[in-house]
Symmetry: C2
Subunit: 218 residues, 2 copies
């Protein structure tokens, strides 16, 4: 077979589903399943079988017609494509309620994203220890990012401090940001930002509830 060349682009929608497939496949693997059909995978993932096949086809032709996909091999391929063959240390900015919960959430490190550090601007919080990680001052951010080779930063500050946190992360050399603050961050084009906004999710649910209740007129 020809050597790996020009990496094909994978659609965003597919990239967003690969982690879900990966989790399911890992679970199946743990349960001793070593072959799976697109149909079954679709069922477990709550999606359409054709979609599963198309998604997986972007990785290459790793299935066997008439049989299905070899679970272990598929896990390997998805992990490779998602860049999960090695750890990605993350640094958390903000040691408040959320920052603490994130640090305490074990599944973080387990899934290949060890917490390289937590920083806060509040001197009062600096020095305290959260689930084994000592909170350091935000001025140490560049040093942490440098020495621990961190490329992903997590913004877990109040809204008012989020932009400053993002600016500092970018200056320190981080290239991806996961933002929990309800703010639209302004960052250089090259920086990848993803947002998790609780209020937005609830308001979307609210819309559907209201629609359900309201009907035509209210």
């Amino acid at each position: 077979m020809a050597p790996e060349r020009t990496r094909r682009r994978i659609p965003d929608a597919t990239v967003a589903r690969l982690p879900v497939y990966l989790r399911i496949l890992t679970e199946q693997s743990d349960e001793g399943v070593d072959s799976i059909s697109s149909e079954r995978l679709a069922e477990l993932g709550g999606v359409n079988a054709a979609k599963v096949r198309k998604d997986l086809s972007y990785l290459g032709s790793y299935g066997t017609r008439g049989v299905g996909y070899e679970v272990a091999y598929l896990v390997y391929q998805i992990r490779r494509e998602l860049g999960l063959t090695h750890d990605w240390p993350v640094v958390i900015v903000g040691a408040g309620n959320l920052g603490q919960a994130l640090a305490g959430y074990g599944g973080f490190g387990e899934r290949g994203f060890p917490v390289a550090g937590i920083v806060d601007i509040d001197e009062a919080k600096v020095g305290s220890v959260l689930s084994g990680v000592r909170v350091r001052h935000i001025d140490e951010l560049p040093q942490i990012v440098q020495t621990k080779r961190v490329s992903i930063g997590v913004v877990a500050t109040p809204a008012s401090a989020a932009q400053d946190a993002a600016d500092r992360l970018v200056r320190a050399g981080v290239t991806s940001i996961l933002n929990f603050a309800p703010v639209v961050l302004a960052v250089p084009r090259a920086i990848e930002v993803r947002k998790v906004d609780l209020a937005v999710e609830l308001q979307i649910l609210s819309y559907h509830e209201q629609r359900r209740a309201g009907g035509a007129i209210h």
Copy 2:
């Protein structure tokens, strides 16, 4: 003008952006701004101006050509459309790390989603008080949902307990679920589910990082 009749359907993508506009508009209102153009709103929201106008046009023609949109009126209209004219009490299932953080996160109640209750299956956790809300046993779920008229449930359990939590919520009468557990929930078609998955977000970032680093071959 003709009375409000058959409610027009708003595209999902637009519904997901309305909360963002709403937050920005509220902020602007607080700062004394009472009129805003689609251009400015787009800038603050990090989107395209045409998109803003198209999104807002689904609510009706509430802008004034040559001028822009009246902030207060737009806030009112978006709130109405999203069903935010009254509170939506939520019930949290799972009083672990995450459940506690969610309960402690004040912005919850402020934004119209007061915590009507927190329940857990672990007797040891029942009775403790988290930011003013007493943890109750999961068996009390139906009663809480009924008496407090809860229609939104939050699943903040470990993955292994998530499906059971969802089943109980549905049985208790909840019609919308916000799921934080890394599991695809199986629920009746009529139930609206939204998912917030930390690991998925990080893995998407990882994909982009890997892509950035890897180039063609590695």
